[in-house]
Symmetry: C2
Amino acid sequence: MTDVAAEDRPMRSHARRNRERIIDAAREALVGSATDTSLNEIARRAGVGIGTLFRHFPSRDALLDELIRDHTTALCAEAMLLLESPDPAAALACWLRRLVSHVATYRGVSTSLLHRSPDGRTGLYRSGRVIDEVTRSLLVRAQRAGQVRDDLDVTALISLVSALSWLRESCRQEPAPDDTEHVDVILSVLADGLRAAPSDQPDARDRAGTADQGTISPPHPIG
Amino acid sequence: MTDVAAEDRPMRSHARRNRERIIDAAREALVGSATDTSLNEIARRAGVGIGTLFRHFPSRDALLDELIRDHTTALCAEAMLLLESPDPAAALACWLRRLVSHVATYRGVSTSLLHRSPDGRTGLYRSGRVIDEVTRSLLVRAQRAGQVRDDLDVTALISLVSALSWLRESCRQEPAPDDTEHVDVILSVLADGLRAAPSDQPDARDRAGTADQGTISPPHPIG
DNA sequence: ACCTGAACACCGTTCAAGT
DNA sequence: ACCTGAACACCGTTCAAGT
């Protein structure tokens, strides 16, 4: 198509094909997987040397980011439609549900999402950024509509998504409560909690009733 | 003290001391820790051979269980006092808060708690059992008082505690949102959500508004 | 009885050597 | 330019050999 010198095209296409094979092998190994698969094993399954894998993807995070990139983009594009929905709080809840499903699909993505850094040196770089943006849009819209409490920021919300995704992917391991159902119930509890104004009984947060807090030291022996 | 043959007492006390040194070394390495510490490293710090560590604790879970045992027992005993508190829902919320703090204290405990098995072959055996019991007591009391929704079982609740504890311990790693604060906000959102009756708009759970679900395939390519 | 540490099969990661 | 795979410093776990 383009005017690239003829002699380096075969090489480049070969490299590109290797890259694709690595991604495919990783996807197959990690989707719905109960346990981690080593990068060595992924390279083996892709039929390339381990060095080639590291050349294309300097870290596991980089590989994961690439792995979910297309799907993340599509999901976020679709989420923009949620911005038009008549019920901002319901739209946010729906988005959180979809996002958890997406993140929990591939082994290890939840952890990478949590450890994303703005400069892209760790964690999901690209995917993290667009997830941040979409979530922020839906959150502030719901807050401006007065439907969701104001003491929540987008970082807390995405941390929560990471944690619930981690739960879902962890529950694929036995023995563990195997239910996607649990996460669903938790999400619906959360959705209800989001709608409420922050509870105006702060005393109930740290102590309830007659418990004598002095008898037990705080759980951090150090610090 | 007892009538044990004299010649094997020194051995046994030596063994017991080794055991204690392993636990102490592990506690020191794991409390508030941002990253995992290998069992080899723990044995090294305790001044024992790696074989000795495995003799006393056949798995990392077994070591963790022993590590938090005393504190777990004390915490659960104190939680029994919460059963007398006048506000069952607030008591439950308070317990969940304390439990997350406790579980998040030592690196790896959240995962072990999630993977506990009733037969004790994996995960936190003893600690898991008493945590289950205490949590169940507080939950059913709040449910019987009509203060907490009925579609929640104790397993879901402890899965949630595991996930939030995982979040807290993960946030000690950089780069990650470092805030204990986030988990606190999430917990208070949850506490509010628990009090509400299950939302009676099930349509809002899976779809909100005008989004066209057909354009994007579900995130599980396999299955 | 109890302890030790070399040995084994892994892991992520690097890098000299090849085409 | 790109790929390979031996090499390195680890990991959890086992087990023959010691006292």
